[in-house]
């Protein structure tokens, strides 16, 4: 019996009072996970990432006693935001600040379990199945229709003060009501020297004519492994603008899927991955254009230092008989060391004729000519390099809104660089 099985049974024993629908869902999901197993190099969509660390390490689920003393100052908290704080998997309602028009639910009984958000739907992602089997901290955030939420809502997942190897499977559901506008920040921070594993699943639905600005910040500790699944559903005229900034975690894998479920949807993905040491970041994105008049833009950038490695696999699917699809996908990678490695595979799968699709990919080192140029203007080579790296990252950072979050990301980037 492996550690996951032991943890699963312990969880079932612990939550004897859970509704039977949830218990049966957990069991189905765990069976699915056991069928699939951890991904291996033979799985085409997973081939460049080694998950043996997660398979071999014995992590245990978070229990009530894991809640440490709450820090006076929550790390990562961005000024001028509403906030939701989760520490070692435990939601802290007393620290929650939310505006009117927004409600949050967090409970052990998963009241909306019958919704699509929990359906496995034949999904072949083992980490989604594992999360569904073991999900232990759920947050549902609902923005009411016709609400314009001016300030961002920041959701912090803090892993801190661990005594032994620990894992967490957060489940997040975000629903943005019709005609509403909001900014959400999903923020993972680790401050511990003990290996841990975080495996969140985030389900986002944006209703008709609503707009979500969504920022994901990954600052897990270097001892942490983070596997994430994010699914988006956009209704008619819905807009999504995402930025993901990832600098932490030893191993990071993110599966992103976006479905246009109505006409006229618009999605923008901006991503910046920073890796060093032996970090490995792997992002897989599928954007499915199954409705008319939708547009999507992707710009994923990686900056890889030392012996770190990155994977980008993006796919744009344009379904048959769809009209006026406008899709663009771009992946740009900067290698700062000869030992850094990048695997990029941008793909288009176009089955309709009424499209405007483009994609591009580039991987390269810093431009020697540009460094030389700056040197001839009296700038030393280290500063010149830093300027160029800054320029490369800025294309992503300067698009982040509001400015408070842009500043935060910019500071984190500058720290990383120095």
């Amino acid at each position: 019996m492996n550690y996951l099985q032991r943890q699963f049974h312990a969880l079932l024993d612990h939550c004897l009072d859970e509704r039977k629908e949830i218990r049966s869902l957990r069991k189905t999901a765990f069976d699915r996970f056991n069928q699939l197993g951890f991904p291996t190099k033979k799985w085409e969509e997973w081939q460049f990432t080694d998950f043996s660390e997660i398979r071999k390490n014995e992590y245990r689920l978070a229990w009530g006693k894991d809640l440490p003393k709450i820090p006076d100052k929550i790390p990562g908290l961005i000024p001028d935001t509403y906030s939701i704080i989760i520490i070692n998997g435990h939601y802290q309602p007393q620290l929650t600040k939310l505006p009117t028009g927004v409600s949050v639910k967090s409970h052990e009984d998963f009241s909306q379990i019958d919704g699509d958000e929990y359906s496995l739907n034949g999904n072949q992602n083992p980490f989604l199945a594992l999360n569904t089997a073991l999900m232990n901290s759920e947050i549902s955030l609902i923005v009411e229709p016709d609400s314009i939420i001016e300030k961002p809502i920041q959701i912090i997942h803090l892993t801190t003060a661990l005594s032994d190897q620990f894992m967490n499977h957060p489940r997040l559901v975000f629903q943005i009501g019709r005609n509403s506008q909001a900014t959400l920040v999903e923020h993972y921070i680790g401050e511990t020297k003990i290996p841990y594993f975080v495996n969140p699943v985030t389900q986002v639905s944006i209703d008709e004519n609503a707009s979500l600005n969504y920022i994901r910040i990954l600052e897990e500790d270097i001892f942490g492994c983070h596997t994430a699944t994010t699914n988006y559903i956009l209704k008619n005229d819905a807009r999504l603008n995402t930025t993901s900034f990832s600098s932490g975690a030893k191993l990071f894998r993110h599966d992103i899927k976006l479905d246009f479920a109505g006409d006229g949807g618009e999605a923008v993905f901006n991503g910046l991955c920073l890796t060093e040491d032996q970090q490995h970041h792997d992002q897989h994105v599928i954007v499915d254009h199954q409705q008319n008049f939708c547009q999507s833009r992707q710009l994923f950038k990686y900056i890889l230092a030392e012996k770190s490695s990155g994977v980008f696999n993006g796919k744009v699917v344009v379904r048959k008989n769809t009209k006026q699809t406008d899709a663009d996908q771009s992946n740009r990678n900067l290698l700062l060391s000869p030992s850094a490695l990048m695997n990029a595979n941008p793909q288009l799968e176009i089955l309709s004729d009424d499209v405007k699709c483009s994609h591009g990919s580039s991987t390269g080192e810093l431009d020697d000519d540009a460094i030389f140029y700056l040197q001839t203007r009296g700038i030393d080579s280290e500063t010149a390099k830093s300027l160029l790296i800054h320029g490369f990252a800025n294309e992503i950072i300067e698009k982040v809104k509001p400015i408070s979050i842009q500043d935060y990301i910019h500071n984190q980037f500058t720290d990383w660089l120095s």
Partner: protein
Amino acid sequence: MKNTLKKENSIIDEAISQDYKYGFVTDIEQETIPPGLSEDVIRVISAKKGEPDWLRDWRLKSYKNWGKMKNPSWAHITYPSIDYQSISYYSAPKEKKELKSLDEVDPELLETYNKLGIPLQEQKMLAGVAVDAVFDSVSVATTFKEDLKKHGIIFCSFSEAVHNHPNLVKKYLGSVVPMTDNFFAALNSAVFSDGSFVYIPKGVRCPMELSTYFRINAANTGQFERTLIVADEGSYVSYLEGCTAPMRDENQLHAAVVELIAHKDAEIKYSTVQNWYPGDKDGKGGIYNFVTKRGTCLEDNSKISWTQVETGSAITWKYPSVILKGDNSKGEFYSVALTNNHQQADTGTKMIHLGSNTSSTIISKGISAGKSQNTYRGQVKIMKNAENARNYSQCDSILIGSECGAHTFPYIDVRNPTAKMEHEASTSNIGEEQLFYCNQRGLSTENAVSLIVNGFCKEVFKELPMEFAVEAQKLMEVSLEGSVG
């Protein structure tokens, strides 16, 4: 990226009414040998041209090799298999004596050129373009020779070069495209009839654009011309090639070989506007264009640039390539390929990086209309010792209507980690919606299409010499006439 279209579309029909403008037959007595290919035929060709033994033997060796090879089948094109025994491999106007001036050329022949829009006389005066007109297979009139001679530039027909500059020909022939390179190159090496030869000596910048018009005239004759351009150290040449062929029901074969050699610090710019007869609107007739074009940047700091506008031929199979051997050498490929009706084009380039700091640029624009199929096939290879190699590739496709197809196959093979690769691709269409949008802003459909197509091609057109760019733009309009609305 793959895109095939089937959807019905109400506005855009495949209906194409534009006739081939250059479809006339010149009634000149031709000297043609009977169809068929054998060692004897090759000996006859070689003898008729009065070739030295080494060249005859080279041809025979190529023929033997060809016999062992198979017609390639990997391209995204379909056509009935070609009966190589039913083609006549030699055709020349009977007029055979040396021509001293244009006055001596058959007036009917000159008339042909006028219909083609290449008035030799006028061009000599106005455009400053030296024209080596190839009528079917034998070069009949070369102008500007004297001017070029002053600079030590050799610009003559291939046959002449064989007689007058045998050492140069012997040194470079087959050095870039070996006779065993591929099926069509081997065939050409065995039976090539004539073509052009250019040599630019050290340090010379060729003072004018060199230009050749190829034209296939006789029915059932394949055209197998051979072009060899050598740019010696520090020299520069810009070479223009234009092609037309008359309208015939049968399909005609064109299998040419072009070899370019750029020495240290030399630059060769090779531009083509190809509008061989594409066949009628039902796909009957038209040229099969199987061409091997390749250049070698043999030494450091050399540059070879291919620009092509392909609007003709029933089938185009063509990959102008550059081997980047010298350090810091550059290869470029700019292409517009337009297919309409039942045309098929499988075209692109190969950039083989061998030297350090080599860079290549690929810009390919494919336009498919009617029921045509348009494929970009490119290969960028960065070999192990090519430090700091760079490539930028951009492949864009436009689909006009819903019954055509565009396909993109960019192969990238990187064996040195310092390589910097950039690839961009886009596919878009001109459909009912785009046209209605333009109409709603007060623009006519015709105006809208020309706006869109010229906008799409501008990055390539700007690489063409001025007078060619204008011609190319007109050609696009003619080729697309009737494809929309």
